[in-house]
Every structure is written in C-alpha cells, then in structure tokens.
Amino acid sequence: MTRRAVGELYDTAFNAAVLDRRLASIWSTPPGLWGALSTVDHKIIGRRYITTAFVFLALGGLLSLLMRLQLAQPEARFIGPDRYNQIFTMHGTNMMFLFAVPVMQAMAIYLVPLMVGTRNIAFPRLNAFSYWIYLAGGLLLWVAFVLDTGPDIGWFAYVPLSGPQYAAGKRADIWAQMITFTEVSALAVAVEIVVTVFKQRAPGMSLDRIPLFVWSMLVTSFLVILAMPAIMVASTALILDRLVGTHFFNPAEGGDVLLWQHLFWFFGHPEVYIVFLPAVGMVSTIVATFTRRPVFGYLGMVMALIATAVLSFGLWVHHMFVAGLPRLGESFFTASSMAIAVPAGVQIFCWLATMWAGRPIFKTPFLFVIGFVVIFVIGGLTGVMVASVPFDTQVHDTYFVVAHFHYVLVGGAVFPLLGAIYYWFPKLTGRMMSEPLGRWVFGLIFAGFNLTFFPMHILGLRGMPRRIYTYQPEMPWSGLNIFISLSAIILAIGFLLFFIDAIRSAKSGPVASGNPWGATTLEWATSSPPPPYNFARLPVVGSLKPLTDHPGALPVASGLRVDRRELLVSSVVQALPEAREPSSEDSIWPLWAALATTATLIWSIFTPWAVVWGSIPIAVALIGWFWPKGVPEDES
C-alpha cells in the first residue's frame, strides 16, 4: 500500500474539464524562445525533427538536380570535377544520414508514445539533446559545403581515398565527424524508443497487441543499437589515422584498407533496413486502415521484421564482391543476400492478402502504398540479381547499381513515408492535406521516379560508371541522359507540389475530424493535434484494435498525479501496471550539453586536446542536467 502524502493531487478528484486544465498547466511548454529551447515534449521535438529532415530532403534534392543538369549532355562545363565530387558525396551523405534515418526516427518520436498510450517518450531530455546534436551535425556538413570544404570522398568514404595520404585538408574529417553527430543522436533516439515500447505501454497492451508500426520501430531501434557502433568505430579510427597518425588503414604498417569496408558495411547494410523497416510499419498501418481490416498474418509480419533484422547483419560482404575476397565467403554472402528476400516476400504477400480480403479505399496514403509495392518489388528483383557475384562484377560501380538502390530506398522508404505524412498529417496539425493535390503529387512522383531511374538500369548495362562528372559524346549514353534529366524535372515538380500542399494545408487546410480515416490505433484516441499530456486518462487496451472494441467509449485508467508530470510504467510482456513514474520537466541543460558536445567534436577535427578540454564543459552540462532541482518530479 502506498501512503498518500499531504498535498498530492490525483486525477480521481477532478471532472474532465478541470482535469484537462490541471494537466495542461503541468505538461505545457511555456511560450517564447526559452520555452522553445528547453521543451522536452516529444510531439514538439518530433515535429522539429520531421521538418528539419524534410528541409534536408529538399536540399539533397536540389543537389541531385544540379547533377542532372551537369549530366544532361556530354562534356558539359556547368560543374567542375571537384565540385561534382562534393555534390554527389553530399547528396548521398545528406540523404542517408540527415534525411532517411532521422526522418524515420522522427516519425517514431512523434507517434510511438501516442500509439502505445503514454504521455511522453522515455528520457525526454535525451530526446531534446538528440535533436540539437542532429541539427548541429547537419549544419556542420552544409556550412562546410558552402565554404567549399564539403566532403568529396563518396558517402561511404573508402580508404585510402579518405585517408591522410589522398585526402588533404579537412573535408574527410567533416564527413567523419558528421557521422559522430548523427550516430550519437540516432543511438539516443533508439534507446528512448526501446524503453518507451518496453516499459511505457498502456495497461493491457501485451506484446501481441502492439501496433505493427511500433513493432517495426522497436526492431529498427535494436538494429541501430547493434549496427551503429561499427560506423562509430570506423569513423573514429579514420579520424585517428588522419589526426594522430595511427595506422588502422595503412597497409605499410600492418593496417588494412578492407578493414574499413568491413566495418562500414557491417553498419551500412543494416542501415538499409534501419530505413526500410519503419517504412514497413507505415505500410502495415496504412494498409490496415484503408482496407478496413487488420493486416493478414500479424505474427508472420512480426516474425518477418525480426528475421529481416537478424539476416541484415549477415549480408554486408555483398557490397564487397569485387574487393578480392575468398570465393567461399562470397558464396555464403550470395546465399544470405538471397535469403533475406524470403521475409520481405512474406510481408509483401501478407499485404496483398490483406488488400485482397479487404475493401480497399483508394485515398492518397493508400496510393503511395501501391506505388511502394510496385517500385520496391522491382528494386528487390534487381537486388536478387546483384546478389549474384558474376552479375555484380559486371555492373559494379555502374548506373545499374544507382538505379537499384534508388528503387529500393525511394520505393521502399520514401513512398511509404509520403503516404505516412498524408496519413498522419491530421494528427500532427489537426488539418487535412488536399486529396486532389495528393493524387497529383502521387502521380507526378510515381511517373517521374520511374522515368528518371528505370533508364539508369540500361545506362548501367551500357557501361556508364557512377560518380563521373561528365562523359564523351562518343559514348552511347547521351540520349538516355537527357531523357533522365528531363524526367527528373517531373519528379521535382511532384515534390514541389508536395511541399506546397503540406505548408498550405498546415496553415489553412480543412479541419480534420477526430479520427478522419476510421483507424483503430491509440494515437486517434485523443484530439488532433494531441494536448501536451497526450491522454487525460491513460487508455486500457484489450485487443489489437483498441478503438473498435467499445464503440463510442474508451476504457481508461485513473489514479495518476496531476501536480507533477507522471506516467505509467508497465511490465515488458503483459504490460501490467508496475509503478507511477515521474517524467522530466523542461530543461535548458540538454541544449547546453549539445552545444558543449558540438564545440568539442568540431574542435577535435583540429587537435586531439579538444577531447580533453572539451570534456570539462560537457561534464558540467551533464551534471547540471541530472542534478535534482527540488521539483515534484524529483520526489518519489
């Protein structure tokens, strides 16, 4: 039995209107700059993350248009070779590290706490810190690019090209340190999501009642936790080779250049699934809602997610088939690369079965799902092709590979993401995006994408290498290149329309009803956008579709305090209530900690002593962050 101290206030004492007012006064972010800088609300930070990631998407898209302008005709003089190297490196780095991974995690930051029925993400201050670190890493990369110090070593920065011998100056260090920024922020978010899903689920949401999007983010977070240390080790070793003369990648002193490739791809291949698995979760959510039935084969879907994650650690060598590895090893990785098509196939068939058995409603989010299935299947088929060593040897480093991974990444992640934005936009803003415009956006992007990237398969088979800034008129590539560049304009117009629709709808779109798509998951059990405390009373879950169990009524739990930020901790498997846990109040210290970390990391590009001196302000900021402030949240 718990003794109630004098002065503690519980929600049991209040009616709905008073309760809302009480909770709002405890959970709201104060207005003004200081409030914005010190907020720990997962919805505000999630929105920031999503917006920032889409700004990076737009910037990365502009870079690709520059490349298409340059390649539209042979011997073009629009961009020189040095700038071109920076541009394709920036495009890949930006899209992978500043857009694809962060935007998926950002969606989870916003949605996972709502979908599991809790009031804030676990470790809200770490969440604030992760955003500032991500922003700083992005700014570092782009400011360097504007100052003509952008990395020019490809998005995977192979040594020896990126090593001290061939990459003088600081361009490679900017790349390596940007890795540190983005990985620190990604790892932090992964920890938050794992703990949120394990310990903050609404009472009754046992493992078999977790929405598939939440499952996908849980598995993705474990992938982040297990894969990203490899790139941290690699980029740290690279910085050390360049700064203090270690020899990790120097064959003359016992180092090895292939070590870089192993470490990079041990991270890099799971990275593909870090981007793809959240998209799988989005697709499952959208398919369930727009076919009016639960996804076929829930258990199979979850098992497929886990199987994909496990297998993704056994494929990395297929990126290194032309590096001269032993044949037996190559055969193993061919087999494993083909094996991962099995869980991917299971998921595709489950979605098709769901659509077959359901009553599909062809709204914009669902259109993007159909686009995803078509494009991702094509990308998957070319993936099985390049898993074969002889074929890969032929097309390695050609535009065939460029076509393949754009089909997989854009088809597999960006299409579901755009569908997800249309789907959850009313949740984020309280307003609907335009349905007619959405159909145009889908049509333009779908057509533009295929017209742009399908011909690249043929260009690759005709021998056009990647990463060349120009080509001679004698080569049989000019016709397709001008066609691709013109098609890219269609694709760009599609994205432009999407941005216009999103910005316009956020301001003046039609006001959304409470559950505009008739969905069954918990994020729709509260208003749109949700109040700062998400749920006035935490929902109690009895099935996989908590919103349809009791039409018109929602079973809830009461008994949380309203004089401090409090949420419920529940058990991992059954989600039985275990404790009432305080949730952090706002704090400016995560921002100070992020600034101190940023200064240290950038300074350490120039001298190793930065780590020694920089650790002092970081330690001060962390102590300020964790030291109790005597507020009710510190009590027990």
């Binding site: 470790f123 920890v191 490899a230 270690t246 016992g254 009590e635």
Partner: protein, 200 residues
C-alpha cells in the same frame, strides 16, 4: 469519445526500482551499445592479427604485471560494489554513503594502474597497426572507468546533499553499481585479448 474508468493506479508505488524503472532499462541499452563497441574493437584486433606475418608486429608481448594487477583489482572491487548495490536496494543512507566513498577511491586506483599499462605495451599508437589498436582498446576502456568514476563522485556528493534520502536516488546508485559491473565484465575479454592472445 467517452472515457470509462476501468482501472485505478493510485496504489501503485510512485516510482519503480530495478527492472520496473526506466533508467534501469536505459542503462542496459547503453551497455548494449558500448558492449558492441568493445566487441568490435576485439574483432578489429583479431582481424589485424589474422593479416600480420607475426603478432605483435615488431615488438614483444606486453608485460603482464600492471595489466594483471589491474584485472585482479577490478575483480576484487566487485565485492564492495555488490554490497553497495544491496545497501541501495535497502535504502540504507549511511551505508550507501560509505559505499560510494569506497567505490570512488576504488575508481581512482585503476586509473593509476592504467598509467603503467600503456608503457607496458612496448609500443606507441603511431608505430604500427598493432600499436594503434592496442592504444584504442586501452583508451576506450579507460574512458569507461573515467566516466563511471565521475558519475560515482557526483552521486557521492548527491547522497551527502539534501536530495540524497530519496528512493529515486537510491535507484541511481544501484544503476551506477550495475554499470561498474559492466565496466569490469567488459575488461576481462579485453585483458585476455591484449595480454594473452599475443602469447598464444
């Protein structure tokens, strides 16, 4: 949508300890991240070794004295650490204060011993790849001893302050003790790798 109350949470404890607390799981997740980092450093060591004609490259295997003393010391430090965790669970403020002072001192000693370990390797980081990985592994682990020491010192101050006598703070102490177990546990394979693999 109308709410119907079906569950009352008032009688739940106002915060969880151990596996019922968020910070316990957070510590575990960070241990998984860092453990992966440690494991990868051993993989890099073995990878470089597999390529080398001789191992260690152009130097003798490290002297055993400093590293073995430190290893024995770390293992012994687990005893007071386990007691500290138990006292934190019992919320015994006096014993926790004493335990934290002991663990702070026990966090300083390995740093002193570590200072003798680097020269015992007979190689600098910039001589060859063997030197590079040896220094990085030692450095990586030293950072963990150092961060845990700072955390223990801050917790010691905290437990002597007015904020100390609080179940949440006892939870912090117990999580910190768990982290020290991790720092010791990760060192054992590193020790075997650094000191005994070159002697195989």
């Amino acid at each position: 949508m109308k709410d119907g109350v079906v569950l009352d949470l008032t009688e739940l404890p106002p915060n969880g300890l151990g596996p019922a607390s968020l910070s316990w799981w957070g510590t575990l997740a960070f241990m998984l991240i860092e453990g992966t980092g440690f494991a990868l450093s051993i993989v890099v060591y073995l990878y470089l070794m597999s390529l080398a004609p001789r191992w260690p490259l152009s130097s003798a295997p490290p002297d055993l004295l400093a590293g073995t003393t430190l290893t024995a010391f770390l293992v012994v430090s687990l005893v007071p650490n386990i007691f500290l965790a138990r006292w934190a669970r019992d919320k015994n403020l006096l014993k926790v204060r004493i335990g934290l002072i002991v663990m702070s001192l026990l966090g300083i000693v390995p740093l002193i011993l570590r200072a003798f370990e680097f020269p015992a390797m007979h190689i600098m980081w910039d001589q060859n790849a063997y030197g590079s990985i040896v220094w990085v592994m030692l450095g990586l682990h030293t950072t963990h001893i150092l961060t845990d020491l700072v955390e223990t010192l801050v917790l010691t101050c905290l437990m002597f302050s007015r904020h100390g006598d609080n179940p949440r703070r006892f939870g912090d102490v117990s999580d910190n003790a768990m982290y020290w177990n991790f720092v010791v546990a990760t060192w054992l394979p590193m020790y075997a790798c650094l000191y005994w693999v070159p002697r195989l």
